[in-house]
């Protein structure tokens, strides 16, 4: 006779099919998209308050991150030459469709902002593009939370309340990190404050997420990447706000830690979702609990 089967599942097989998304592409995009979006907003804020060098650094960083994002997104497609098929439709039920249109609106603004910022040509156009990219940027940085939460992957789906705030915080921390890395000390004030606030929001959102998810939070709690991400973000933010105010080298180190921290957080969230999709317990048990709760409520009334 065959070994005794586990009757909570079908031979321990996952209920869901594993996402086909590659970590380097999609977790990488979650990081780069956040970096691009928040950097554009930081660039606009810096430009409008007379910090041209911080603004220029953030604009160039945003364009670079956007380029990496587009490469990762197209590279992950099964048929990359058909990426334009995304532009056939606009579907509010598909965060990927909405995201495509957000990027379509954001890309030209971010490109024009960086090009005019570096060359100094067309300052009026540059100012308009900078503000435009800065306004759309936060949407680029947070829609990706809806993108991964709008799946049956247990950890991602159930975490949908905190995920946009975690992503917004992580994006702000990374943009602050880029500012600390590339802007002179005299102009890096907004970057330091963005890093501090972003890291705090990121850590608070993650803590709340883990508490609310209960047993389902296991893949998050087990994730070394998430812990490393939090540690790097907090350390980078604190270093940036203290020694980073006086020493350019310390500011650069803090900026690098912030960027690495944000990337670790995104890869950690991605990895935890994959783990939860591959374990039938994470699909079956929360659904069982939901059914039991519904039954108990029915019995009460």
């Amino acid at each position: 006779m065959v070994p005794k089967a586990d009757f909570d599942s079908y031979y321990g097989r996952p209920v869901l099919n594993e996402p086909t998304w590659r970590a380097a592409d999609i977790a990488g995009y979650l990081f780069l998209g956040g970096l691009a979006g928040a950097s554009s907003t930081l660039a606009a804020a810096a430009e409008l308050t007379g910090r041209p060098r911080l603004a220029r650094a953030a604009k160039v960083g945003a364009l670079g991150a956007l380029g990496g994002s587009l490469y990762a997104l197209i590279h992950d497609l099964g048929r990359p030459e058909r990426f334009v098929n995304m532009l056939r439709v606009f579907k509010v039920t598909s965060p990927m469709s909405v995201g495509t249109w957000i990027l379509t609106a954001y890309g030209p603004h971010a490109g024009a902002a960086a090009a005019t910022g570096v060359t100094g040509l067309f300052p009026g156009l540059g100012r308009a593009a900078t503000v435009g990219a800065g306004v759309v940027g936060p949407a680029v940085a947070t829609y990706t939370a809806a993108l991964i939460c709008d799946t049956a992957v247990p950890v991602w789906h159930e975490a949908y309340r905190e995920m946009p705030f975690l992503f917004a915080g992580s994006a702000a921390a990374s943009a602050g990190g880029l500012g600390l890395l590339a802007a002179p000390l005299s102009e890096a004030g907004p970057a330091r404050r963005a890093a501090l606030a972003g890291a705090a929001v990121e850590v608070a959102a993650a803590a709340r997420m883990e508490r609310r998810l209960g047993p389902l939070a296991e893949p998050l709690k087990r994730s070394g990447l998430l812990r490393l991400g939090e540690a790097l973000s907090l350390a980078g933010a604190l270093a940036g706000a203290t020694v980073g105010r006086r020493s350019r080298v310390a500011a650069m180190a803090a900026g690098a830690a912030l960027l690495a921290g944000s990337a670790c957080t995104r890869f950690g969230i991605f990895q935890a979702g994959m783990e939860s999709a591959n374990d039938p317990k994470h699909t079956v048990q929360p659904q069982r609990r939901r059914l039991a709760r519904a039954r108990a409520e029915r019995d009460l009334t």
């Binding site: 869901l16 930081l42 804020a45 099964g78 970057a191």
Partner: protein, 273 residues
């Protein structure tokens, strides 16, 4: 669209499968017929060693999958013929559920997935760009991305055969009529009658799965009579279309975006430093 969860498909014109697993004999003729008719590529010649199931699961290259479960439990009033040992063998042919609220269809960013005139859900292979969003969206683990073509693939309920007035290949070939094809409302009535019959024969654990239009996916176009809990067959006990929560997700993302904009503006508020 799942944003409108009160939406009902035109049930009068909707066709479906009723898979009565109590009479499945595990012959896998449905798997073969499906492969042959739909030119579904090879999904690997694997030996699992856990049961007669070497197909393992539904995927881009497996559109019908027969599950085999062995249990030391009695099956109704049946004599197992293995001495005093209680023993029953559960076999069930799984397939795409063709949900009323189909998450794969909702999240598809190219419009490749569409709802047919028969109420089924079909991928247009020439439109799909292989983004893979439908794969984690499916609460049943049905749809997959095909390695060879790079595009998503799943059961079409033999869309071509339906158009010609034929029944799907799996139902046509099923030797015990475990897989029944027909108008969905008629199948639901038939299933209720069959459930009473099976329960009267002593199988108290028999239940219908996917027949209820008020469940998390609005009922499925392919539903089942099961003899045990759904998860025993690898099915989710309470599937919910992920887009049911999408309005809340958009709201949360919107608030977070506004907070990010305001927060970053605030960091630059002070002119100096």
């Amino acid at each position: 669209m799942a944003f409108d969860l009160d939406e009902r498909l035109d049930e009068g014109r909707r066709v479906g499968f009723f898979t009565d697993t109590s009479i499945c004999i595990g012959c896998k003729a449905c798997e073969v017929a499906c492969k042959e008719w739909n030119h579904v590529p090879d999904d690997g010649l694997n030996f699992t060693g856990w049961s007669y199931d070497n197909t393992v699961k539904l995927s881009a290259d497996t559109w019908r999958h027969v599950a085999f479960v062995e249990q030391r439990k009695p099956l109704g009033h049946q004599e197992p013929g293995v001495g005093d040992l209680d023993f029953r063998w559960l076999m069930a042919s799984d397939v795409c559920k063709h949900c009323t609220h189909a998450a794969c269809l909702d999240v598809c960013p190219t419009g490749s997935l569409f709802r047919t005139e028969f109420g089924t859900v079909v991928v247009q292979e020439d439109v799909c760009n292989g983004c893979g969003y439908c794969v984690p969206a499916c609460p049943f683990g049905v749809i997959g991305k095909r390695e060879t073509s790079g595009t998503a693939a799943k059961c079409t309920m033999c869309y071509d055969r339906l158009g010609a007035g034929e029944e799907p290949a799996c139902a046509k070939t099923c030797p015990t009529d475990s897989i029944q094809f027909g108008d969905l409302d008629e199948l639901r009535e038939r299933a209720e009658r069959r459930l009473e019959q099976v329960r009267a024969a002593g199988a108290a654990s028999a239940r219908l799965y996917g027949h209820d239009p008020d469940d998390g996916v609005g009922g499925t176009g392919a539903f089942f009579l099961l003899l045990d809990e759904p998860e025993v067959y690898g099915l989710p006990p309470d599937p919910v279309v992920t887009t049911r929560d999408l309005p809340s997700m958009w709201r949360q993302a919107g608030v977070a975006a506004v907070a990010l904009l305001a927060g970053l503006a605030a960091t630059a508020w002070r002119r100096k430093r």
